[in-house]
Amino acid sequence: MDFTVFAQQIANGLVNGMAYVLIATGLTLVFGVLRIVNFAHGEFYMLGAYLTYFAGTLLGLDYITAAVLGAVVVAALGVVANKLIFWPLRRDHEFTILLSSLGLALLIANSGELLFGADPKYVESPFADEILDIGTVTLTQQRVLVFAAAVAVLVAVYLFIRYSRFGKMMRATAQNPDGAALTGINIGLVHSYTFALACGLAALSGALVGPTVMIFPTIGNWAVLKGFIVVIMGGLGSVTGALFAGLLLGVIESLGGGYISLGFMEAIGYAMIIAVLLWRPNGLFSTARGLR
């Protein structure tokens, strides 16, 4: 076996996997804290990529500023979506919430097609075509950025949830919303902030992954699908689970595509879901209910 190719495929897989992790983290947070299965998560990813694109082309902002602005605006949109749809429905059956999120996803995707046009677009980044040779492995700066930014953001999110006062409020809400409310935690605020954080993360991953591919209004489908595979594998509500499952999925896809057949790359994700659901229905890294 050619070691250079093997190392390259592992590197490709780790970068793709880290992008999956970034997408899945928001999805798993929203489920863990709010008990919402949010099918519209991918659309916030799409919006992040598009807002970065428009901030770059229309406002003339540089890539990094555009990406941050995109994430902040989408986080604000997340707050609005929560206020209008998910907060009023919080006492309803889970299926009602799930279907509402599906409706929201269709609404955003179709509005996107109308507003942004169906033609593919490209998010310009100064790092996209710059090649970095790390030993025998070749990566673009953008791909290294995807990985590094994801690591930084995940560490920040982890520390935030673990040690900040607000993170403790989030965990309390996840464990028992009524109990948390009784101790004086403002549940409404926790919902809003969690949604903002999740949507901001989705948008940030869209902005980061954007320059490695082309964007069009239906890319959210891809994102939410990968996100769900990772979340189910890692355990619903588990951030550390999402980290390991995302990286695992990326590397297995890359090696499977590289050494078995590219035709199976998509199938690998689904096969892993089935295997995990049969063997550990709560996810590879799950222990009990609550945010981890």
Binding site: T4, Q8, N12, Y122, A128, I131, T138, E253
Partner: protein
Amino acid sequence: MLGRRDLIAAAATLALAIPFVGPSAGALAQQPPIRIALIGPMSGTGAFEGQLGLEGAQAAAAIINAKGGVAGRKLELLNYDDKGSPEDGVSAAKRAIEQDNVDFIIGGWFSAVALSMKEVTRDKIITVMTSSQHPKVTEEGHKYLFRLNATSAMMSNFYSKAICGQIKPKSIAFMNVNDDWGRLELDNYTKLLGECGIEIKGHEFYNRTDTDFTTALTKLKALNPDAIYVAAINTSQGATIYRQVRQTGFRGKVIASAGNMNPKLVELSGNSLESVYSASPFVEDNGQPSMKPWLAEYRKSYKNEPSFIAALGAQGVELIAAGVAGTGGDPRAYDKIAAYLKANETPTVLGNVRFSDQGQATQPIHLVQVKSKQIVAVRD
């Protein structure tokens, strides 16, 4: 004696009759327009291509109408959405024929749609198929069917000669989409390029839903070929592949599949398409008399760059106009028009087009290359 009821009835009859009197009285002064249905993907993944085709056809119709139309009658384009799906293409064609009573149909941007739609229009109405490349569109066509685009066999015959004679890679590897067309391309070029002594290093198939191609390209790069041949129809996938070919560090030649080079692809691909070759029936400086006015009209009316797909829309309109004008002006004389188009060369934006008895066009094809982000013809 007339009762109140009779009066109301009479008034109602008059009111109903007036709209019918109006247009027919006007028609005495001016001939009704020739109605052309343009059926294309206006929504869904092919929406951008559908938009380009529509714009090209509209620009051509505007030029013809500004000159007084065809045999004194204006051309009227009616737009239908086939959503890129055979079912919607069939229902659009039925609606065009039965409800809107159109005189001609231009459609068939995707092979799957063309193959189903031609059964609805079979021997009923002159149907011009545009970009579809599947051989069966004309092989199993009907007496009023014409197809503009070259078949994949015609393209590969031309392009393989150009690759062997002008691009001259020593070895080649293929990156093809995993569908009928992608597999056909691989078979054609493996055979044709092998015959002229180019070493075939290997191939990878990717899926139509893939968004990341680094895994496949890493494998191809490891084969160390002189050139990588990319067969991609979809513009967004194509642009990602061309970028990622360079991003994986491949520095050899890149050859793009025939018929799939367009300004949007160049725009999206940045510098990675620079000096990449392709084959295309569309070059701006082909010297055709109708090309310059069409380019001017197109650029004046639309923000997209003129492209092959847009030119196919224009060609469809030009073909219908030439057929009607050459046979005395009756748009429903289908037998005469079809015979005329098969017997005569028709000058169009893309060149003079000849049709076989099956209605398959023979178009000039050019070797093109991207230079300074422009698609230019490579002259010997």
